[in-house]
């Protein structure tokens, strides 16, 4: 079982790029999820050739390999449930080319999103999918998770920005997928298959990405609502009106309370707030979009409306949303903010009900949950605040999650909007995709017949996420 030919790996990547001290293995056993499992060895390749050789070896020795970027996945995507090799891709972190005439850049997978955007900024362009975790998330991890973020409502998700990629397959073969052109109609779009595959089909070793100009003008506005329903209807109306927000965020009463309680921001404690933004090269066009959104908010009883182009004012408007994570972490000394039922997507018309459902389920199960998210793309986030030491709270959380995803499916939503499936959302994912699971399994089997790449995730993950791995908390029995 737990045997890996370390000297051979050492030969491939060099002495400096391998770690196997128990204290290092322990650290690499977790990401931003609730899970923890210990790998056998950590290998940090510098080159594509090294990745190929590692995969060749692992495939022949039948050793699980889990690619890892920044380790910011929220559902246990990089937690090595079956042990094996952690392939730390952060060693391949070169920006290879910024090609302005052809409007693409080529990067290695370990390049951090923020770093790429800093490099692109000098050319007046940006790579838009950018998740909130952009200061740590790598391009490889974003591709594997099909990450998206606050601006995806206008600019799309990772899937929309990746033109092509180089991938090392489980057998060690290197393939070139996609193209460097804007359009491609040649055969199966295999690069798109890799996007969102959570490191289960191939190891991305290079990506060709498109970018867009940084807008000259950005204007942000906010509207408060006395009922979730009104806010929900405003979202639906904005999105169906043809308005083009570059951001449309929802925060609920619990989020606002949490921020006020811990940060003293003095936000008005209303049922919900919508934060909206428009951007563009022409101010009149931005004005047009902002005014349109303001009018719609007003129509749905939005209050305290205001908006601003000034960066400082914009930061102030966004403050409540920005401070949400620390606020939730500090909400109560006995409660921890866990990444559970962390994201989902529902049709616009169901946003408000979804938020209401989250509150109802939380109350029923004696935990605290808040609803917030990039509602412009139908994405809803939450976190579960609970006493992680108490076993019964984990049972409550499990029950709550089941109820929430049942609701998501009943309104034709989907299990994950952007954080992926990994381990902790697998049960809901498997129910949602019940009729196509065989297809997913067939693809996995065809590309990875020995099941060595990130095994035990997505459709292979155990149904019971609580017992799937150790939890990364101390739970009293």
């Amino acid at each position: 079982m737990k045997s890996v030919d370390e000297p051979r790996l050492r030969e491939i990547v060099g002495e400096k790029n391998i770690k196997s001290d128990p204290s290092d293995l322990y650290v690499y056993g977790s990401d931003a999820s609730v899970h923890h499992a210990i790998p056998w060895v950590i290998v940090k390749p510098d080159t594509t050739l090294q990745v190929q050789k590692i995969m060749e070896y692992a495939n022949q020795a039948l050793i699980p390999v889990t690619p890892r970027g920044g380790g910011s996945g929220m559902c246990g995507q990089t937690v090595p449930i079956h042990g094996g090799i952690i392939l730390d891709m952060k060693g391949m972190n070169r920006i290879l080319e910024i090609n302005m005439p052809d409007v693409y850049c080529r990067v290695e997978p370990g390049v951090v999103d923020d770093d790429l955007n800093l490099a692109l900024k000098q050319y007046g362009v940006f790579y838009p999918p950018t998740p909130a975790s952009s200061r740590i998330a790598t391009i490889g991890g974003e591709i594997a998770n099909n990450a998206s973020g606050v601006r995806s409502v206008k600019y799309g998700a990772t899937r929309d920005a990746v033109l092509g990629m180089k991938v090392v397959m489980p057998n060690g073969k290197l393939v070139n997928l996609g193209a460097r052109t804007r359009v491609e109609a040649s055969g199966y779009q295999l690069h798109k298959l890799m996007i969102g595959s959570e490191g289960t089909l191939g190891v991305v070793v290079e990506a060709t990405l498109s970018f867009v100009p940084i807008p000259e003008f950005r204007c942000m506005g906010i509207a408060n609502f006395d009922s979730l329903e009104d806010a929900g209807q405003a979202i639906g109306s904005i999105m169906s009106s043809g308005a083009i927000p570059s951001m449309l965020e929802l925060v609920d009463s619990i989020a606002i309370k949490a921020v006020n309680k811990t940060m003293n921001l003095g936000l008005k404690e209303v049922a919900a707030a919508l934060i909206f933004e428009a951007d563009g090269m022409v101010k009149e066009a931005v004005d047009y979009e902002i005014n349109k959104m303001k009018l719609i908010c007003e129509k749905h009883h939005g209050k305290d409306l205001h908006s601003s182009y000034d960066p400082k004012e914009r930061a102030k408007i966004f403050m409540g949303r920005k401070k949400l994570f620390p606020a939730l972490s500090k909400y109560d000394d006995n409660l921890s903010s866990t990444s559970l039922a962390d994201d989902m997507a529902v049709p616009y018309s169901k946003m408000a009900q979804m938020a209401g459902k989250i509150h109802e389920v939380a109350k029923k199960n004696n935990i605290i949950m808040t609803a917030y998210g990039h509602c412009g793309s139908g994405c809803m986030h939450t976190k579960i605040l609970m006493d992680t030491r108490r076993k019964d709270q984990w049972q409550s959380a499990q029950k709550a999650i089941g109820e929430i995803y049942d609701y998501v499916q009943s309104v034709n939503g989907t299990t994950s909007a952007e954080h992926g499936i990994g381990l902790s959302k697998a049960a809901a994912f498997k129910t949602e995709k019940a009729d196509s699971l065989w297809l997913l399994q067939t693809i996995k089997k065809a590309l990875d017949p020995n099941n060595i790449l990130n095994p035990g995730k997505l459709m292979q993950a155990p149904d019971d996420w609580v017992t799937a791995t150790n939890l990364r908390y101390s739970v009293n029995s």
Binding site: K19, D21, P22, S23, D24, Y26, V27, Y28, S30, D31, A32, S33, I42, K44, G70, G71, S72, D88, K90, G91, N93, R94, I95, L96, E97, I98, G110, V111, V112, D114, D115, L116, L118, A119, Q122, S133, R135, I136, F325, P326, S329, K330, D333, N334, S336, S337, S339, T388, R389, N470, R472, Y473, S474, V475, N476, S477
Partner: protein
Amino acid sequence: MKIKEKKFTHLKKWDATLASCIRCGYCFEHCPMFKYTNWESDAPRAKIITAFGLLAGQIKPTPGAAKKLFNCFYCKRCEAACSSGVSLTEIFTDAKKDLLAMGLKGPGTTSITHMNCARCLICIGVCPHEARSNQETGIETDPSKCQSCGICVEACPAGAATIENSFGTSREELTKKAESFLASHSSAKAIVFACNWSYYPELQASQLPKSETKDNAYEILVNMCGGRLEAQLLMAPFLNNAWGVLVACCPEGECQHDGNIKAKKMVANLQNTLKTIEIDPERVQLVEIPAGDKALFQAKIDTFVDKMNTLGPIA
């Protein structure tokens, strides 16, 4: 998974905080250790995970685990970046206290004293954190107090005080980095030695394309606290045809080690020396940058490079 309460008497109080760290990794961002080694296991999140593992009895207090907690420059940039308000360095200090009680001494990035110590006691006087003391066995450092500022290293006339685990910040490594930058960049003019607080790197560990970097006029090298800068280090780039050397440190009253006062004195002395050998003293300058003010930092660098352009190379 029950917590072993006996052993970690100091760390114990952080039980809830360790659970409330959401493991987002935002603290990676500008940790100089992570930036230097590019190993996640050197990043602040890894230290928090290790502290949790120790407290929960999930990992053993081995030298490997202890090393993670003893390696830290206390720059607190992780704390500034933390999404959840975790007091990382206080946790590290408490973990160090417990590990010390178990006989694990690091030293990690804390300073040690070599045999050639002359017992002049200078280091004891300069240490801003009262970490050094004169014991029967020699000059000892208390690793739970030492914040790795490096001021004793600079002050020790015998060269006996050292930080062995320097993560790229030792005089030798910085000299070498400056040398290789000056040799490989056609437009290279200046070296900027920046303390880790004033320095807000634009980029993390990702590397820019070659075409982007080859004509940089200056290179920023992080030296941790300005108080550890030595005259030899600042003069070395001139041997490799640098036009100027800029030192950035915290404004008065804002340095947690009072290292900026030492740096100022040192730069003033150097300027006097330059005058005596008829080199324009403005070729070595010091600027004060409040933590994280990267706009000001960039402006100061630009002004300095402009000045060097008017002075030209040293004849």
